[in-house]
């Protein structure tokens, strides 16, 4: 049974045992839209990291911090707009609001992680919500990645204002997304599933003059 009740809250493992085909939020874009290949002239590279585990944590920072450190080995970013990664860079915790964080882990880890966090958190008031099916992570790299972002969001992405280790929710085109700076050379975008096709088209359009390439 995939459902386990932790006290008074139901958890749910969304993943099947069998190998079932999955479709990412960008599947319509990739299947039916334009998918320009990366070339040596591409000054922006777009790459989806599909099917990761995405969890929303809600609650007090002190309580959550202890549990997250214990379970994930990452300190909960306490300062606004913080982004913390583990050594491998595969797991991250991002500040979303004073009582809300986004955890991203390799796909399939999220349910076990949720259980371990719940075990660690006990009776405190908190919430953990699996949103893995609702969003996808995309990375943008290349010398013109920042300029592409400037076309799309009014957030100041200058390195002095948007250094490594920062993550923000921003207006992007006429939609919104989460913008992260996990490393010097890479930006990450977290797209909402239903807006993914629009955002993809927006990014391709904005990136056309930089010969944007898409790696699937």
């Amino acid at each position: 049974m995939s459902d386990i009740t932790y006290g008074k809250v139901a958890t749910f493992n969304t993943h099947p045992d069998a190998s079932i085909p999955m479709e990412s939020p960008l599947s319509v874009a990739f299947n039916t839209g334009s998918v320009p290949a990366a070339t040596s002239g591409s000054r922006v590279l777009f790459k989806e990291q599909a099917f990761l585990g995405h969890l929303i944590l809600r609650g007090g920072a002190i309580v959550l911090d202890e549990a997250v450190r214990k379970v994930l080995g990452i300190s909960l970013p306490g300062q606004p707009l913080g982004l913390a990664l583990d050594a491998s860079g595969e797991r991250s915790v991002q500040w979303l609001s004073p009582d809300e964080w986004l955890v991203i882990v390799p796909g399939g880890e999220e349910f076990e992680l949720e259980q371990r966090l719940r075990d660690a958190l006990g009776d405190a008031h908190y919430a953990i919500v699996d949103v893995s099916g609702g969003q996808t992570l995309v990375s943008l790299e290349g010398e013109k990645a920042r300029e592409l972002l400037m076309k799309s969001t009014n957030y100041d992405v200058h390195p002095s204002r948007f250094p490594v280790g920062k993550a923000v929710s921003v207006v992007f085109g006429k939609s919104s997304l989460i913008l992260r700076r996990p490393s010097e050379e890479r930006y990450e975008l977290v797209l909402r599933r239903s807006f993914a096709d629009y955002l993809y088209r927006w990014i391709l359009d904005a990136g056309a003059e930089y010969a944007i390439g898409v790696e699937q």
């Binding site: 049974m1 006290g7 809250v9 079932i20 319509v28 809600r58 085109g173 239903s194 927006w202």
Partner: protein
């Protein structure tokens, strides 16, 4: 074609690159570096347009953004047309094609000019308000002919082949204007390490330095500019934006900069390195501080026939000579009120053409430039001005006389000077537009005879923009103000050491705006103030006589300053004339208010990429591609694309919507159908107080809903009106999953947070949107259980899994939550799976569904089915004025809940408590073939004359293949007491449909089918 006015040398044009262009059908040549205006002047083209109202011949007056006359229609193809391009700001490119915006059949021989000549007198300001009133019925006819004269250029009639984009920029200091002041400011800030944006509207940065006679550090001023620009270009923190106009200042230092990226290259964007750049780009700049180094516009003098081609502002003459190597005439009369403008005569003289005279309004002018002119033997007529220009399509002479400016009269005998060019200068108006976009009113400065900007915190003006007109002063001021601006940001920047400029001693200017004439203004030759709108000094005088005393009234009555130049040349003169007429001073008459844009901006640039397929996001569900592949027609619901219906093609003919809906809805009632319900909003709610919270925001009770159960809820605003509805499931004691309407999802989410954060923060509860995480598939119809049982491990036994229960399990091997709720009235299961697996589950359902003829249906069938069952759609059957009581949903109103839930109190207000409010009912047309029109109104007496007393309206109406009849839902005054009554629905054709008021539940009133 020879460039008759092109000097053999000089100017910043590239003589090696000759460019051909066409103006009014004739081919000409110019050079790279020319503007269209300089190229036309080089070719001796005097007449470039006809005026708007009087069709008078007009020539080029200025050299920049202030030009009122030289507006052209650009473009050789229909799609490339651009109306009203200022020739003074359009760079010349190979093949440029332009024509005058006015003049028929052509600008040389304009039929309307006759009307202008004869009718001019009959068209004073306010002309339209005083005529065309009789007979009343004729106005539309009169107007039709009036409209024929409307407009300058024309809109393209084909779609734009170019694209546009935005770039969001941030900086510490935005410097507007790259003349001496702006360059000194930018350099100061850049050397201090600040993030700097420097923009300039011209093709080339440098501003007045590009045509200056002065030396900086003993070198031509332009060389200093080049050196500074190259230093700035090297600096990573500096963004240089030439060809970029700062058009609007919008609160908190948000400034729009319009960069013309390709307009100097061609009429449409060319392909460069395989990429077609956007035609223009809007930089949306958020600056820490803003420094306006926007310079000043020279004011022409207002004298008789000052609009005849060959009349220019003095500075423009210098610009054309020094920057473009073009001298726009042979014999010059220069009429001035100040020293600075003497440069025009010196430049003209050096170009080897004749300066007939300098007419100076001052007695005994004695500045250095005056001395230089004297030394060259140029005749200077003191205490005098040009009263009137002579000539028709080109100046042929200037009537000059001594005047008493203060007494506004001509004191001497007029002398006619033969000339072909009159240049004038009445002083310099700081360019304060951006500063006044903030709403800050500028103030008049008697010292500089101009308005200086009032500045909001963080906006600075420097140099000419605040009346510091001399070069050395402007350089120092730019550096100092940049340093001040950065200090306001807590950054220290020492002002750069400006280059050495030789101070030129200038005499005091005198105040002269309108030049007196021997005849009174109303009888004198037309003295133009605003050339683009044909506003004369006489018009202003007349307006003041008629009681228009506020400058705003004068402007509106005469249309002064409403042109595409926004009165850059004329407004101050106009105000001075109004002040003279009213016997007041200029500041008493009022200040001038400018609005964005500084110069007109292409719609496309403001729109950016938010057009066509990117106009608004299209939201897709996880099953979107299947819907497309299976021929769905889509309905726009909010931003979502939802399948509307799935037409089948039978014998090569595609079903109509009615046919498809009939088939789909019968399938659900008799077999099994499937709907993609993923767009419904879904909110995960957790916390010990989740249940209490639900009880406060929903009208009904939540205290006892057990895990595994689902309940329908109504949500009101505190005015008692329904805002949304949906089901909420109890997942655990402290855990709920709320659903909302598709359109209401974001609003409900914010609503819950609003109440939690601002009213009840003590409640321990959290809300998280999971709309996109889950895909929702509704399998419904009598065969739903059979179908689902084939691919699920959930026990679907009717006793084990009841209506309004939910269960966990696997569907098509994928973990799923299945909710037994029904929006069709049939047996129904809503299957929720993680969206990445949705397509697999959906397709598996169809594999197994073949034998049941599983039928996909869309929103239209969904609407029919729910309406048959009397279920509302919030937003369709309700409109913001409907309470739960109006809907008759008393079963969903917890009157006795301890907490006064949102909306409860409002229900007892006198109007909300009325018994005869519009109430939700069903309507059955007496003729079953009739399908009532949604939105039609209902009356008691079909024969009542108009206005009729309306009881209410049809909110939903369909043909039901199940009922074999049309049926409708409606809201009707006192409807619940009207059951069985016959009412009428009057139609535009005079017919009235007879309807019976019935229960809104048309099918299975006992609910047996959904419980099977």
């Amino acid at each position: 074609m020879s460039q008759v006015n092109r000097l053999r040398q000089g100017g910043r044009i590239d003589r090696a690159r000759t460019l051909s262009f066409t103006f009014n059908g004739k081919r000409y040549q110019g050079h790279a570096g020319d503007t269209l205006a300089s190229a036309l002047l080089a070719n001796g083209v005097d007449l470039v347009n006809r005026s708007f109202k009087y069709s008078r011949p007009r020539g080029i007056v200025a050299a920049g953004a202030e030009e009122p006359n030289a507006l052209v229609q650009l473009g050789s193809t229909e799609a490339a047309q651009v109306p009203n391009v200022r020739a003074t700001q359009q760079a010349l490119f190979e093949g440029l094609t332009a024509q005058s915006t006015n003049g028929w059949p052509n600008v040389q021989r304009d039929v309307m000019s006759l009307v202008g000549k004869l009718g001019g007198r009959f068209m004073p300001p306010g002309f339209y308000y005083k005529t065309f009133m009789a007979p009343a019925s004729m106005w539309m006819t009169y107007e039709k002919y009036i409209r024929k004269g409307a407009g300058l250029g024309r809109s393209p009639m084909e779609n734009d082949p170019d694209s546009y984009d935005h770039l969001n920029q941030h900086c510490d200091l935005l410097v507007v204007g790259a003349g001496p002041t702006g360059l000194a400011a930018a350099l100061t800030a850049a050397r201090a390490g600040a993030r700097v944006i420097l923009c300039d509207e011209q093709e080339e940065m440098g501003g007045s330095l590009l045509d200056s006679r002065e030396l900086l550090d003993d070198r031509p001023a332009a060389q200093w500019a080049e050196q500074v620009i190259s230093e700035l270009a090297e600096n990573d923190n500096v963004t240089l934006l030439p060809r970029t106009t700062a058009n609007g200042y919008h609160d908190h230092h948000f400034v729009t900069l319009h960069e013309r990226r390709t307009e100097h290259l061609g009429e449409t964007a060319p392909t460069i390195d395989g990429v077609r750049p956007t035609r223009s780009r809007m930089h949306r700049v958020r600056a820490g501080q803003v420094l306006l180094a926007t310079g000043a516009h020279e004011r022409p003098l207002v004298y008789g026939n000052n609009d005849v081609p060959g009349n220019l502002v003095a500075g423009a003459v210098s610009t054309y000579i020094r920057r473009y190597g073009v001298v726009p005439g042979n014999k010059l009369v220069l009429s001035v009120s100040n020293d600075h403008a003497y440069r025009a005569a010196l430049d003209w003289d050096e170009a080897g053409r004749e300066v007939v005279a300098i007419v100076d309004a001052r007695r005994n002018p004695d500045g250095e430039l005056v001395e230089q002119a004297r030394a060259r033997g140029i005749r200077i007529i003191e205490g005098a001005a040009v009263l009137e220009a002579k000539g028709d399509k080109r100046v042929s002479g200037a009537r000059v006389a001594t005047i008493d400016a203060a007494a506004f009269k001509v004191t001497g005998q007029a002398e006619l000077l033969e000339c072909d060019t009159i240049a004038s200068s009445g002083g310099y108006s700081p360019v304060i537009h951006l500063a006044s976009h903030t709403g800050a009113r500028p103030t008049w400065d008697d010292e500089i005879l101009g308005f200086v900007p009032s500045l909001v915190k963080g906006v600075h003006a420097a140099g000419s923009a605040r009346g510091v007109h001399d070069l050395a002063g402007g350089l120092a001021d730019g550096a100092a103000k940049a340093s001040e601006a950065l200090a306001a940001l807590g950054k220290s920047a020492s002002a750069i050491e400006p280059p050495r400029a030789d101070a030129i001693r200038e005499g005091q200017a005198c105040a002269l705006y309108q030049v007196p004439h021997e005849k009174p203004t109303l009888r004198a030759p037309k003295q133009f103030v605003d050339m683009q709108n044909d506003v004369t000094a006489a018009a202003i005088e007349l307006a003041t006589r008629e009681g228009f005393e506020s400058i705003e009234h004068v402007k509106r009555y005469t249309a002064m300053g409403f042109g595409t130049d926004q009165g850059k040349l004329g407004n101050i003169n106009g105000m001075a004339i109004a002040a003279r007429c009213l016997g007041k001073s200029i500041p008493e008459v009022g200040t001038t208010v400018f609005r964005p844009n500084y110069t007109p901006v292409t719609f496309g640039a403001i729109v950016g990429r938010h057009c066509r397929e990117l106009f608004d996001p299209e939201r897709y569900t996880a099953l979107h591609q299947w819907h497309v592949e299976n021929g769905a027609e889509f309905e726009d619901v909010g931003q979502w694309k939802r399948p509307w219906y799935f037409p089948k093609t039978v014998n090569g003919k595609q079903e109509s919507m009615d046919e498809a809906v009939a088939r789909e809805s019968l399938a659900v009632r008799t077999g099994v159908g499937i709907l993609d319900a993923s767009t419904l909003g879904k909110i995960d709610i957790q916390g010990p107080d989740a249940r209490e919270f639900l009880g406060r925001v929903y009208t009904n009770k939540w205290a006892k809903l057990a895990p595994g159960r689902v309940r329908y809820g109504l949500m009101c605003k505190d005015d008692g009106m329904l805002m949304d509805d949906g089901t909420t499931s109890c997942l655990g004691e402290n855990h709920f999953l709320m659903t909302t309407t598709t359109g209401g999802a974001a609003g409900v989410m914010e609503w819950l947070e609003l109440w939690h954060q601002t009213e009840w923060p003590e409640l321990q509860v959290t809300f998280t949107s999971v709309t996109d995480h889950w895909a929702t598939m509704t399998v419904t119809g009598p065969d739903a259980r059979k179908l689902l049982s084939e691919i699920t491990d959930i026990d679907l036994d009717r006793e084990q899994f009841k209506f309004m229960d939910w269960r966990n399990g696997k569907v098509a091997d994928v973990p799923a939550r299945v909710f037994r709720i029904s929006f069709t009235g049939e047996l129904a299961y809503e299957i929720n799976v993680q969206a990445n697996y949705a397509m697999h589950v959906w397709k598996t359902l169809f594999e197994h569904g073949k034998k049941y003829d599983l039928t996909p249906y869309g929103t239209e069938t969904m609407h029919v089915l729910r309406a048959e069952k009397g279920l509302i759609i919030a937003g369709q059957d309700t409109d913001g004025s409907v309470t739960p009581e109006d809907l008759g949903m008393f079963w969903a109103i917890g009157y006795d809940k301890p907490f006064s839930w949102i909306g409860k109190r409002a229900l007892t207000r006198p109007d909300t408590a009325r018994k005869d409010r519009k109430q939700f009912v069903g309507l059955k047309p007496v003729d079953p073939k009739v399908v009532l029109e949604e939105g039609a109104h209902i009356v008691v007496d079909k024969d009542q004359p108009i206005p009729m007393d309306m009881l209410g309206h049809v909110t939903s109406s369909y043909y039901s293949p199940n009922l074999e009849s049309g049926f409708a839902l409606a809201v009707i005054k006192g409807g619940r007491d009207r059951m069985g009554e016959t009412l009428y629905v009057p139609m535009p054709d005079g017919q009235a449909h007879e309807v019976e008021v019935v229960s809104p539940v048309f099918i299975d009133p006992k609910g047996e089918r959904q419980h099977v």
